[in-house]
Symmetry: C2
């Protein structure tokens, strides 16, 4: 069986990759908000850490009541319990990557987990 | 204590986010290869699943000897044991996101892990 899977993701309001790629250690979503649009609710998590990356555009996050400006190139780690809500700016769209992983689940990584061929 | 951390990532050959963002469930790297450049070795992993996203440009991966063409918008799940090597095309740079997570570490996610505020 092939040990990889590939998909090309179109620009849609929201694309979730967990099922499409048969992920077992993360859920990943690609979110595209038009200017003025955003997630219509505040949420937190029980177990999962979320890492957000701003791929394009501008917007903001409100995290535990604090407003955090977002521009392309910004990356955030948000703890499970933090109450968060993301939206695009009034005059800019926002492309936002969201990576959901179980907090404290990573053991070794990179040099400690990789096997480099001779 | 603040329950989030933010950083703006410049375009450099390689930026690793684990330590910068105090990640506990993933290592994330942003990799920028110039045309003709690539990772100089083949590698696999012991425990970690990797998810790769092509943020810009074109290139290829060689996975277990098979050549896989890469263009912007492509996302791949690569199993730990797969032997992989990524490179930019001869005539295009390649911006590649790599997300490293422990295989089978995710329990509930999205609706099963989120707490939505009223």
């Amino acid at each position: 069986m092939k040990k990889y899977k590939k998909v090309n993701v179109p620009q849609e309001p929201r694309v979730e990759l967990h099922d499409t790629l048969s992920l077992t250690g993360a859920e990943i979503s690609l979110n595209h908000f038009s200017a003025g649009a955003g997630v219509p609710f505040v949420h937190s998590h029980k177990q999962n850490e979320e890492i957000y990356g701003v791929l394009a555009g501008r917007g903001k996050a409100i995290i535990d009541g604090e407003t955090v400006a977002l521009v392309a190139g910004d990356w955030l780690r948000v703890a499970p319990a933090a109450k968060r809500q993301f939206s695009a700016a009034e005059d800019s769209s926002l492309s936002l990557l969201c990576i959901q992983v179980k907090e404290n689940s990573l053991d070794g990584y990179t040099r400690d987990d990789a096997v480099v061929e001779g």
